[in-house]
């Protein structure tokens, strides 16, 4: 099967839209309302119009299936004129604060205006006056900057299955907002940030912590340390850095962070190793003592928030382990001041995360003071003049939490917590490592829900990995009613896991997520340390401070409680 685009014949894949075929052939058709991985549900922006031979009217290529023999033109004068007219209307009522907008320099709308040759505003429309919503600890919304493309609505409803926001009102008053136009903080939102990741403008952005971090760095009486989540180096490798190795990238990142004033840099994967010790032990205890099963992972704060706000009945199923971010924070605050002899200096912990929900988590718990998303790092580099692509001064990760296993790195991808936990659970149950090597193929992959069984010392562990909150809701009933009963379920809120998190670089195609996953697998493969329980720093930590997994000290530092956050029913009545 093939179609002709601008006179060139191009093979088409099954169920592909003309927009997608063209993209594979290196032809970029502008599009706002569609996402590259999902057919456009609305085909409403009409920027993607093309001419199709035999059809008199322009067609929207995002909703046009590529059919064998079709002949398409993508950039004729007629099309260019139509697109330009659309864009001119789109920006007629757009706010005029582009210079100071968070998206300055990276705004899709501004780039489109340039591409389409819109270099002056010929129409000036009425000014929108929607209130800005800064109620959420994770995300800020400025509906005045919204172009009503609907991508966020697609992500929230169709991909994440939450549906916290939707189009509200009509005509000039149309806006995207939560139900009843309340603030995000009291809506159904779980703070996953998938809406922000795809917004073409500054209408939904993370709540920035950059200024707080810069102020802490400037204070001579404050010691500022960072912890870096494994998804972050796996992502920064996209920046024309000459290495493709996650660990090398992490050390370079540590070098750059120290250059801008951080006193120490830790690897959140270390805390992931600790999480594995605690969580695997908790799982085995629940199985032994007839505890509540299946046990669900608790690393993904948007998932935890989903349980607390939408399904508090599942709270007993959540592992009591804090997330690796909070375990790292708690350990740093407990141990580092004495270890590094900080005296009466203030200690500030900054975590660098692919996630917006982690900002909410940081507000609720005490381990972390500021959370910078992968995207916000750019603001930091900008402030201090760091060119990460050329910055080649690596620094080793800092003691006493310097070492991390390949298993801990895998936490950044869907299936990774499961794989790491299986490696260690097998060892705890049988006393020896997985036969056939540490790789757990069944946990890998990108399907929505993956079920598998691992036999360990006569016990069959029934396991499941759920990739994304949208898929979770399709499979939740099966998981709870599983026959044979399911023991352990990994849930990551974002598609692909943390590497596809809501704080990751803006992105409308899912491709980069797969590459990041591959880099994590590669990092694990090349690591000389593949299992959390063999991490010497983790062992030392248990010997010196924690005692044993689930022990008293571990319980105080590494475990948590949950609360039912459902709004009282009466609070929504008028």
């Amino acid at each position: 099967m093939s179609i002709t685009i601008n006179g060139k014949e191009i093979d088409v894949a099954a169920n592909e839209t003309v927009l997608q075929t063209a993209r594979r052939a290196g032809i970029d058709i502008p599009h706002l309302c569609s996402l590259d991985w999902a057919p456009s549900p609305s085909a409403s922006c009409r920027l993607c119009v093309v001419e199709v031979e035999g059809l008199p009217r322009l067609q929207t290529s995002c909703s046009l299936e590529a059919r064998d023999g079709m002949s398409v033109q993508t950039h004729t004068p007629r099309i260019l004129k139509a697109r330009r007219a659309i864009l001119e209307l789109l920006i007629a009522s757009h706010p005029q604060d582009c210079l100071t907008c968070v998206r300055a320099g990276g705004c899709e709308l501004a780039v489109l205006a340039g591409d389409l040759g819109v270099r002056e505003r010929r129409y000036v429309g009425a000014v929108k006056e929607h209130p800005i919503d800064i109620s959420s600890p994770s995300l800020w919304r400025d509906p005045n900057k919204c172009v009503l493309c609907g991508r966020c609505v697609t992500m929230c409803h169709s991909v994440q299955g939450i549906g916290a926001i939707d189009f509200v009102g009509r005509g000039f008053q149309t806006r995207v907002a939560p139900g009843f136009s309340v603030g995000l903080n009291v809506s159904d939102c779980v703070y996953c940030g998938q809406c922000a990741r795809v917004c073409p403008t500054g209408a939904i952005v993370e709540r920035s912590h950059v200024e707080g971090v810069v102020a802490a760095l400037a204070d001579p009486d404050t010691v500022v340390v960072a912890q870096v989540a494994p998804a972050v180096p796996a992502t920064l490798l996209e920046r024309r850095t000459k290495t493709q190795d996650v660990h090398t990238m992490l050390e370079r990142l540590a070098g750059a962070l120290k250059h801008v004033g951080f006193d120490a840099v830790f690897d959140t994967s270390f805390a992931a190793d600790v999480t594995v010790m605690e969580e695997a032990t908790e799982l085995l205890e629940r199985i032994q003592d007839n505890g509540v099963l299946p046990m669900f992972t608790s690393c993904s704060p948007a998932w935890v928030h989903f349980v607390e706000t939408h399904r508090p009945d599942l709270i007993p199923h959540l592992s009591t382990c804090k997330s690796p971010q909070q375990m790292a924070g708690a350990l740093i605050k407990e141990i580092y001041p004495a270890y590094a002899g900080l005296g009466d200096k203030r200690l500030v912990v900054v975590s660098i995360m692919p996630c917006t929900a982690k900002k909410f988590e940081a507000q609720e718990q005490t381990g972390v003071d500021y959370v910078l998303t992968t995207r916000e790092l750019d603001a930091l580099w900008g402030r201090f003049g760091v060119d990460l692509a050329h910055f080649a001064e690596p620094a080793p990760l800092d003691a006493p939490f310097a070492q991390a296993s390949g298993a801990g790195r895998l936490f950044a991808g869907s299936g990774g917590v499961m794989e790491a936990a299986v490696r260690t659970a097998h060892k705890l149950v049988t006393g020896h490592e997985l036969e056939g090597g540490p790789r757990v193929n069944e946990a890998r992959g990108s399907e929505g829900a993956r079920h598998f069984t691992i036999a360990a010392a006569g016990v069959d562990l029934n396991l499941a990995v759920v990739n994304g909150l949208g898929r979770l809701q399709e499979t939740l009933d099966d998981l709870l009613a599983g026959d044979p009963p399911v023991h352990f379920v990994e849930v990551m809120s974002c598609p692909g896991g943390c590497v596809g998190g809501g704080g990751q670089p803006y992105d409308t195609d899912g491709d980069a997520v797969h590459e990041r996953l591959e880099r994590l697998y590669d990092a694990d493969k090349r690591s000389s340390l593949r299992t959390s329980h063999d991490n010497a720093d983790v062992r030392a930590l248990y010997e010196d401070v924690l005692g044993r997994p689930l022990g008293e000290v571990a319980h105080r530092l590494l475990h948590r409680e949950y609360v039912d956050r459902r709004p009282a029913v009466d609070s929504v009545s008028v």
Binding site: I162, A164, D166, V168, R170, G179, F180, D188, V574
Partner: protein, 156 residues
């Protein structure tokens, strides 16, 4: 009168196509669509609250706050416009300290703008609690409101 819960229950098996008819029926029964009613509807239809609210706000026919004791429909049709119905609407807004939801600050009056009341011959016209009042001026409107308010006090 049937409550939102009863209306929803009466329908039995529900599909999302029934959202708009249900909203209409609830408004008919309760005078407006409350957030509680929309939340119930969302639950019953297994659809997010944001979708129910989004659909409801797309149509002008739905109200989201209860009606006041007295309902004033102000005609904004062409004939009335020419006879300065805008001045009447603005006066009502000032005198009654109208809130965003269209009701007076004390909640006793609700003002609804209407495309045309079909009484162009007596423009500018309003309908107060179902009665037409034509050939209005700001002064006559004031007198009318004074009367309504006095009547309420006398009854009290």
């Amino acid at each position: 009168m049937a409550t939102a819960d009863e209306i929803i229950a009466a329908r039995g098996e529900l599909t999302r196509e029934q959202l708009i008819p249900l909203l209409q029926e609830i408004q008919e029964a309760e005078g407006f669509v409350s957030q509680a009613a929309m939340s119930r509807l969302a639950e019953a239809l297994r659809t997010p609250v944001s979708r129910v609210y989004g659909v409801a706000t797309f149509y002008n026919q739905f109200r989201f706050a209860p009606l006041g004791e007295h309902v004033i429909q102000v005609c904004r049709g062409t004939a009335c416009h020419v006879k300065e119905s805008l001045a009447l609407a603005q006066h009502l807004k000032r005198r009654l300290k109208l809130r965003d939801d269209g009701s007076s600050a004390d909640g006793r009056f609700t003002i609804i703008s209407v495309a045309c009341l079909g009484a162009c011959s007596i423009a500018p016209v309003i309908k107060l609690d179902g009665e037409f009042y034509g050939h209005l001026t700001v002064e006559r409107l004031d007198a009318l409101l004074d009367e309504v308010e006095a009547g309420a006090e006398a009854a009290a």
